[in-house]
């Protein structure tokens, strides 16, 4: 494989962004949501105080201000939640027919839809992502997941499994902070549709919409104990997944924690699915529709501040167009608005936590020391809160750490290639295998490349599209199992051999 020459930035590019239209602020009011000063644990259909009496503060990442307090579940609380879920599984939930399960899930979807503005604003405040994203992506997709899996609840025998299906039992579900309500929907919807009960632990920095969801469960008439939500930092998740009363574990988060969970579950009968990290390659060929590809690359890495497991965090661009493409990319990136997440004009919001911010900054500094050329648009960032400007690192070679390790921030590494074979080779050259993008106007080439990518999701001439019907998950160290569609049912069912 020939060594690609690093792409240099033309010296004439201005450091400050070109003149942009001044937009008047379009702030969404936070009045629509009423945030309590603190939240307890949701167990057995009611709010229960943590046995330790401990609470922890959750901050607004955009302002650094306190949003509310959440309960720190103790080992005893986890035990109680699991026991409750077991009781509900064997009792109330088993007594509910599949058709009634379906109706319950449809009610949840409808209620989320009725209260969507409330969830949109709450998620924005708690997570730091722009309200346009919570409004247009997070909440609609979460609603969609409940509506989609509702329809499967009473049709499982038609789903194509080679035998009679039964629920697995009690599912322990640990979710990350990047798409809080959406990740909750991805876990809870299929679990309930298949007749399981759940104990869910949201991420400690983003527990708000999960607790609001608890209230939706009340309104929807979900039987007590079918959905249980316990909050707390990592230790609560560790306790939960290790609990002997749990039949199945579903985890979305970092590869390293996924590894720990896999080890912890060794020798047990627990089923496990993992949806872990990624280092997605956005491959741009010289025959791509350039303007669309630029949008797609921007969307791939700066959407949700790059806090996306399937982010297109590597631009793998054909050498012949690299310089021109990079120049257009920088111009487009300079137009991104970084600012108040509640402002409907905002494109890029806050980094979710100060820990994550430090990690991103450290990795960029290290990449620069290792020889990458670093560029960011010259924009002013707010003083309060966690902020990181969109960053492009070029002159990166495939063996550099920044080309292989997940940053989980608005940082794009640029690598060039000459032939389609090389592009595939580069795309596959990480331990991950979650998602890739392919940009070319030649359909045959797009299909050829897609066939060769060790990637659970391939987006051709688009990026970061999701749908409840569309299975999502990774190869290799991006985990195992799929969420969405029929494969998403598999993890929550036991299939019995037909004699």
């Amino acid at each position: 494989m020939s060594k690609a020459s690093p792409t240099t930035i033309p010296a004439s590019l201005p450091a400050s962004p070109p003149a942009v239209w001044e937009y008047a602020p379009a702030l969404e009011s936070s009045d629509v949501v009423s945030i309590a000063p603190s939240y307890d644990l949701f167990i057995d259909g009611e709010m229960q105080a943590p046995s330790s009496g401990e609470y922890f503060t959750s901050l607004n990442p955009a302002t650094g201000e306190s949003v509310t307090q959440f309960a720190h579940a103790s080992v005893e609380d986890v035990d109680r939640a699991v026991a409750t879920a077991r009781r509900a599984f064997e009792g109330a939930w088993s007594a509910v027919s599949p058709a009634e399960r379906a109706k319950c899930l449809f009610r949840i979807a409808r209620l989320l839809s009725e209260r969507s503005k409330e969830f949109v604003v709450a998620e924005t405040i708690d997570n730091g992502k722009p309200i346009r994203e919570t409004r247009d992506v997070d909440i609609p997709l979460a609603i969609g997941h409940f509506a989609y899996y509702a329809g499967w609840a009473d049709k499982l025998e038609w789903a194509g499994f080679p035998g009679a299906t039964r629920p697995v039992g009690v599912a322990a579900q640990v979710i990350p902070w990047n798409f809080p309500l959406l990740m909750l929907a991805w876990k809870v919807a299929p679990a309930l549709a298949c007749g399981n009960t759940v104990v869910l632990k949201p991420a400690e920095t983003t527990s708000l919409t999960a607790l609001l969801f608890a209230d939706v469960c009340r309104q929807a008439g979900v039987p007590d104990g079918v959905v249980n939500i316990i909050t707390g930092p990592g230790d609560v998740g560790r306790t939960l997944v290790a609990h002997p009363g749990v039949d199945k574990v579903a985890f979305t988060g970092s590869t390293e924690v996924g590894r720990q969970i896999a080890r912890a579950l060794a020798g047990t009968r627990k089923r496990l699915t993992l949806e872990l990290g990624g280092k997605g390659a956005n491959i741009v060929f010289d025959d791509a529709a350039v303007d669309e590809a630029v949008e797609g690359v921007v969307r791939g890495i700066f959407f949700n501040q790059g806090h996306v497991c399937c982010a297109g965090s590597r631009l793998v661009v054909q050498e012949s167009i690299a310089e021109e493409f990079l120049s257009r990319l920088q111009s487009r990136t300079s137009l991104l608005r970084v600012g108040n997440p509640l402002d409907k004009n905002t494109d890029v919001g806050a980094i979710n936590s100060s820990e994550q911010l430090s990690r991103i900054a450290r990795m960029c500094d290290a990449a620069e020391s290792a020889g990458a050329v670093r560029w960011s648009p010259g924009i002013a960032l707010p003083d309060e809160g966690n902020w990181f400007a969109p960053t492009i690192l070029s002159g990166v070679s495939t063996s550099d750490r920044i080309a292989r390790e997940e940053v989980f921030g608005p940082v794009l590494s640029v690598v060039t290639f000459r032939t389609p074979e090389e592009a595939v080779s580069i795309a596959n050259a990480t331990p991950y295998g979650l998602a890739c993008g392919v940009w070319t106007d030649k359909g045959a080439k797009a299909a050829w490349v897609a066939d060769r990518l060790s990637s659970g999701v391939v987006w051709t001439n688009t990026y970061n599209l999701f749908d409840p019907s569309s299975p999502f998950g990774g190869f290799r160290e991006s985990g195992y199992g799929r969420e969405g569609g029929v494969p998403g049912l598999e993890a929550y069912l036991n299939v019995e051999e037909t004699p």
């Binding site: 080679p162 020798g267 009968r269 391939v458 749908d467 569309s470 985990g479 569609g485």
Partner: protein, 287 residues
């Protein structure tokens, strides 16, 4: 008149399309239930495992590149060749398992029929597991199975032939290549099957059959970073299974649990979904 002595076969393993002894030259002695000498079985080493996995990686590229319908015909050919050796296999199964010749014959027939059953799956699996996803907007989305790659499978210790077939065929019909560890105590039927596989039209490395000590080799397979699916189907020891799962966790290798831990699974989820990855491809649609 001198009694004619038999010409006993040397037990070999199948690696990279060739029948071979262990690179370590180690063997272990196998006795029949009545205590008499059955033969010296190759005791595979860590290096044999590494060689087999390397062969399986190349074998996977070749085998997954064979058109599905052709894979069906190749596996059917395996069934034909096994059928021809029914007598030999029945003799070996009867001797290894201490059962009657008649019972062994039945088992051999069942094993061959199962190979035929799996052969028929090669070009249908994709259809059963594929979907067009009804996504909104000017996009198309479809999902389908892709063979996971190199499958390391542990055949059951007790069931010398049927167990081996159940262990190896699902991965093979999915388009994966296989490194199979045969029964430690009853390997002779597997060795004969390996000889058949060596002469069928499989690409070199598509199937590799090792014999040896499970406790020694399973951890090596589990820790190997180039194994895509670790199937502990035939592992009897809970401790060994647990050790293997811990090792496999390092590289997040998918592990299929031992048979005794599955939920009455026979020819069910493991058959169809155990050895494939789902890939979802979205496309932009427009003029």
């Amino acid at each position: 008149m001198t009694l004619r002595a038999a010409v006993p076969k040397t037990a070999l393993m199948l690696v990279n399309g060739r029948l071979t002894q262990s690179e370590s030259t180690r063997t272990y002695e196998l006795s029949l239930p009545d205590g008499s000498f059955a033969g010296n079985v190759c005791q595979a080493s860590r290096k044999d495992v590494r060689d087999a996995v390397r062969a399986a990686r190349a074998g996977y590229k070749a085998w997954s590149g064979v058109p599905a319908a052709q894979r069906t015909r190749t596996l059917y050919r395996v069934a034909e060749l096994l059928e021809e050796r029914t007598g030999v296999l029945a003799e070996e199964v009867a001797r290894a398992e201490g059962i009657s010749r008649e019972s062994a014959n039945t088992q051999v027939g069942e094993a061959i029929d199962r190979v035929v059953w799996f052969a028929g799956w090669c070009d249908k699996m994709v259809q059963v597991l594929s979907s067009t996803n009804p996504v909104p907007g000017p996009y198309s989305s479809s999902s389908g199975p892709v063979p996971a790659g190199v499958a390391a499978v542990v055949a059951p210790n007790q069931s010398s032939l049927l167990g081996l077939v159940d262990a190896v065929l699902p991965a093979l019909s999915s388009g994966c290549s296989v490194v199979a560890l045969a029964s430690e105590d009853r390997p002779f039927p597997a060795i004969t099957v390996a000889e058949v596989l060596a002469t069928a039209d499989l690409p070199p490395g598509a199937v590799n059959v090792l014999t040896g000590v499970a406790g020694e080799l399973v951890p090596v397979l589990a820790a190997h970073a180039d194994v895509d699916v670790l199937d502990l189907w035939g592992v009897e020891s809970s401790d060994l299974a647990r050790e293997a799962e811990v090792l496999a966790a390092e590289t997040l290798t998918r592990v299929l649990p031992p048979h005794h831990r599955t939920h009455r699974e026979g020819r069910s989820s493991r058959t169809l979904r155990g050895f494939v990855e789902t890939r979802t491809v979205w496309s932009s649609v427009g003029k």
